[in-house]
Structures are given as C-alpha cells and as structure tokens.
Amino acid sequence: MSDIIDIEVNHLQAGYDTVTILDDISFTVKRGEIFVVIGGSGCGKSTLLKHIIGLHRPQSGEALIKGYRIFGGDSDEQDRAMRSFGVTYQNGALFGSMTLLENIMLPLEVFTDLPLEARRMLAEMKLDLVGLKAFASYFPSDISGGMKKRAAIARAMALDPGILFLDEPSAGLDPVTSDEIDELILRLRRTQTITFVIVTHELASIFKIADRCIMLDNETRGIIAEGSPEELRNHPPHPKVDAFFNRKSMNG
C-alpha cells in the first residue's frame, strides 16, 4: 500500500431531495487499500457510494477521486474522475441484450480506439481473470447470480481503472462463491494494485479482505467507527460496533 491518496471525502452531506441521510462524512482511502463500508440495513451505505461515484450530487461537501472532482469542476475534470474508477452494482447490472463478451467490449468500444480483435482479446482476458472465459457467449439471463457479479467485476475492470467500487459483491451468494469473489478481490489488489471501496455486511468477507473499514449509523447519520476489523472487534468504540462484530442483539 502506498501513501498516495486515491479517494478523499470531505464533510460530505448526502441525501435525496430534502431528506438528509448522511451528514459530515470525511475519510480518505489510500492507493491499493481495500476499504470497506459497513452498517445495518438502511444506514446509507449505498447512498454514500452513489454520492462518491457521482450518481447523485452531494447536498454539501465534496468527494475527490484521484484528486479530481466530479461536481464543481469543468467537464474535463469530471471526465478524468469518471474514467479512473469502475463500479459494480448490487445485482450486476449487466446489459441483458448483450452477451458477456459484448458487455465487456462495450466500454472498450466507446472509450478506446483499439481494433476489434484487440477489444475481443482484452474482453476475453478480463473474463478469464474472473473465471468466466467459457461463458463468453452466454447472455446474463443464462448464468447464475454469482457469475453475474463476477462478470460485472470483469466489466468494471475493462478500462483498467485504478479504483473499483463494489456494492455488496457477495450478498445473496453461497459461502463458497462468496469466498471466490473475496479471493478475486485480493488477487486483483495484489496483481494490479487496484484500490477497492466495498459495501458489504458479510462478516467473514470483512475479516478476510478489509484493510480498514468505517461503520455508518442511521441515528447519528455519520461514521461511528473507523479502523481495521480486528481493532473494531476487540476494542469496539460504540455498542453498535460491538453488536455488529460480536453478533449481539441490541435488544437482548
């Protein structure tokens, strides 16, 4: 892990319309770090992600990706910011009318001048990386949920982004498949020095992959804990953190 800061979030206030869901969120993510956002359902994890990647404009504050702003700068700056990361969504969000290979070739076609055979080879290699080369000509509706998530990771990596945002990459998957995705994430970080920001609430995968995590809470609308998963488990700064890591019911 280097000391270069890839993502910087400053006093971000996030929400929809007049409702504020998160207030005064600040953190930084270093290059090559696996940064995990945790918290109970409905605490704004996905909201935070959507505001960092520019799907929604923050109510105040800012998020810098590789030093570039998505909102507030000129279109060139926005372009640089948007090009430096890849995103996978909760259900994969693959384009249903295209095969897996075409799904991955699409960003290459739009954003590069590479000849067709280069795009095809590159797309096949990305599928190979996530173990889906044999399924290149399948349609998303023909493959399983875990395969869709892996294919979505392959698509997000098509343009070699330095940063990957993953929204619940292992939710709803069996432990073995979920473990495979964790392995994939660790391998990609090791080999391609990718920075990961991952939203999840799978404890096993948090302990396996996270370098550092933050926990969000819907009552305080902010970060209630920050640190490595081991630190948070052994010295929880907040009862909710203790409950999360040590699986205690808050009512009992």
């Binding site: 009318s97 000849p115 280069a118 080879m121 000509s137």
Partner: protein
C-alpha cells in the same frame, strides 16, 4: 524480427502495437523468430497484455519462435495469469441469429402459432375467472378495478377530448369543402354526427387507449413478471389472471364506451365551431345532430367501444403476463400489445361493418 517495447505500455502504445506491429508479426512463418525486448518495460496496460497474449497465441498457431528479454518480469507476469494456449481457438465470434429468409419465415410462423395458442389459453382463463366472479362478485378486487378505471378513464379524458374536438373540426372542414359545391353545407352536421357516433368516436378512442393503456398494462405486468412478483402471487395461490388481469380488463372495457361518448361530444363541439364560422347557426346545427343521432347510431358506437376496450385489455394483459425475464422483453411486450390491439380493433371494426351491411343497420 526484434520488437522493443516502451517503458510504460500505455493504451495509445497498445493501440499502435495492435494496429501497426501486429500485421508484421502475422507475416512471420515457421522457423523465423521474434525477439521481444522488454528491458525497459515496467508497466503494461490491459490492452498491452492482450497484445502479448495475442503474439504468443500467433506463435503457437504459425510456428514462429519467441525469445523474450524480460529482466523486470513484465511479460512473465502476464503469463502467470493468462495461458495463451487456452486462447488458441479464434476468440469466439458473437453469435448472430440465422438471417436466412426461409428460417426467418419459419421462426415467425411458429411464433405466431404459439402466440395464438397463448392468447386462446389466456382468453379461456379470463372467461373462467370472469364467470366465477359473476357468481361471486365479492371475488373481484373492487379497489384495484376502481383505481384502474380512474387511470384509464378520467386520466385519459383531456387527450381523448382534445383529439375528439380536432377530429370534429377536421371532418367539418373536409366535408364542407365537398358539400359546399352543391350548396349543402348544412348536411355536414348530419355527416359528422353519423361518422362520429357510428365509427370515429369508438375507433379513435380505442386507438388512443391501445397506445396509452394497453401498452401500460403490458409494461406493468411485464415488469412484475421480471421482478418475480407474478411468481410470488402464484405461490400464494392467487391466480394472476383474477388478481391482476381481470380488474384491468373490466376497467378498460367499462371505460372505453364512456370515453368514446366524450370523444363524440367533443367532436360535435368542434364541428359546431367550424360550421359556425361557415355561417351555419348553432341551433340549426344541433337540430340536425338530434335528427341524425338515432338510438341505432348511438348504441352501435357504444357496443363497438365496449368490444374494442375488451380487446385492448385482453391483448395488453396477455402480452404482459407472457413477458420473458429480461429488460428488453418488457419493451417488446408493450410494443406487441399496441400492435396486437390495433390489429384486433381493425379486424373487429371490419366484422362490425359486414354485420351492419347484412342487417341493413
């Protein structure tokens, strides 16, 4: 042949390698050798890695040998992950559907056949559940039906009346341009009344509703199918036809005659305005309208509208419930619902015309 790779193989470098260097490499034959000099190379982008894999793949296929000078292990690193031998077959071509004309005709025919079967089965199911509801009216979901009725009728009123008014206006002008030659402008009123009540009111309202409501039904039910909501209903032992389709079909069947009458009425107003400017007094116009608007004319229009509404509801819901589970399937279902409704409306109108001719109505 020797190829010296740059220090950082960027996307632009990779593009150049693919476009300019690869054709030269493709000319190498068995026995020749390629030296890849990566002494200076430190980083390599994905497209560059793809180039290296392609070069090794070609060497296996064409039989030339490769010697790599790779002190930084950049090339070796690529092959830690990718085995060029597994890429030996040509990368899979994306499969395109067979476009031979005969095949297309065959595929279309079987699709139409299946479609008709589905429609018939659906019609049977609707009839069965309608009869059951007739005997026990409490089983019809009244709230849903009222809600759908409101959406289909009241919400569509402005557009139906706008189109109706313009239709009356246009009919009046077109009719007057011919009849004025004979000095018979006043009979434009009779013509408009007959045309609107018997034909245009119901037909235009139906076409409008096919686009507005039929497609909405198909898209709504199609999305529910995609979201597995229909499956959820079935596992609760609730029949999708009774629960979802019947309220919609009842709503649109009852709404279309009302809308059609509103459309006729607005058409008459439009015609009245047009004729007023041609010098025909309003009272005279309405006298002619009342003479022409016989019970037969009015009831024929209402019956037509009733049948058209039923057809739109049936076709829309049938296509919605048959939707496959992809996003573009929902779009296709909506399109099929509109096209199907229009065809059915036209056919039904033709049948009405024949019946009226035979019965001298």
């Amino acid at each position: 042949m020797t190829l010296i790779l740059p220090e950082k193989i960027s996307l632009a470098d990779a593009n150049q390698l693919w476009r300019e260097t690869l054709p030269a490499i493709l000319r190498l034959t068995k026995g020749e050798s390629l030296v890849l000099n990566a002494t200076a190379t430190r980083t390599c982008c994905g497209a560059g890695e793809a180039f290296l894999v392609e070069v090794y793949r070609r060497s296996i296929m064409q039989g030339f040998s490769i010697e790599s000078i790779d002190p930084q292990h950049v090339i070796a690193h690529v092959f830690d992950f990718f085995d060029p031998a597994t890429f030996i077959e040509e990368p899979k071509n994306v499969e395109h559907p067979n476009t031979h004309a005969l095949v297309q005709i065959g595929v279309a025919t079987t699709r139409i056949y299946k479609d008709v079967l589905h429609q018939l089965a659906f019609l049977g199911e609707v009839t069965a559940s309608f009869l059951r509801v007739l005997f026990r009216p409490g089983r019809l979901r009244l709230r849903d039906t009222m809600l759908q009725f409101e959406r289909t009728s009241v919400d569509a009123l402005p557009i139906v009346m706008l189109i109706g008014t313009l239709m009356g206006l246009i009919l009046a002008f077109v009719g007057a341009s011919t009849l004025s030659v004979f000095g018979a402008e006043i009979f434009v009123a009779n013509m408009i009344t007959t045309a609107l009540f018997r034909e245009m009111g119901a037909l235009f309202t139906a076409i409008l509703l096919a686009g507005r409501t039929g497609s909405a039904y198909a898209a709504e039910l199609g999305t529910m199918q995609t979201n597995e909501e229909i499956d959820a209903l079935i596992t609760f032992n609730l029949k999708p036809v009774r629960f979802l389709a019947l309220p919609r079909i009842v709503a649109i069947t009852l709404a279309t005659p009302f809308l059609s009458l509103f459309s006729v009425f607005s058409g008459l107003i439009g015609g009245m305005v047009a004729l007023y400017f041609m010098g025909i007094p309003i009272v005279t116009f309405w006298q002619h309208v009342l003479l022409t608007a016989t019970f037969t004319n009015i009831s024929l229009g209402v019956i037509k509208a009733f049948v058209f509404g039923l057809l739109i509801g049936l076709v829309g819901c049938a296509h919605g419930l048959q939707t496959e589970r992809t996003a573009d399937a929902v779009g296709r279902a909506a399109t099929a619902a509109v096209v199907g409704s229009m065809v059915m409306i036209t056919v039904a109108d033709g049948i009405f015309a024949i019946i009226c001719h035979i019965l001298w109505i």
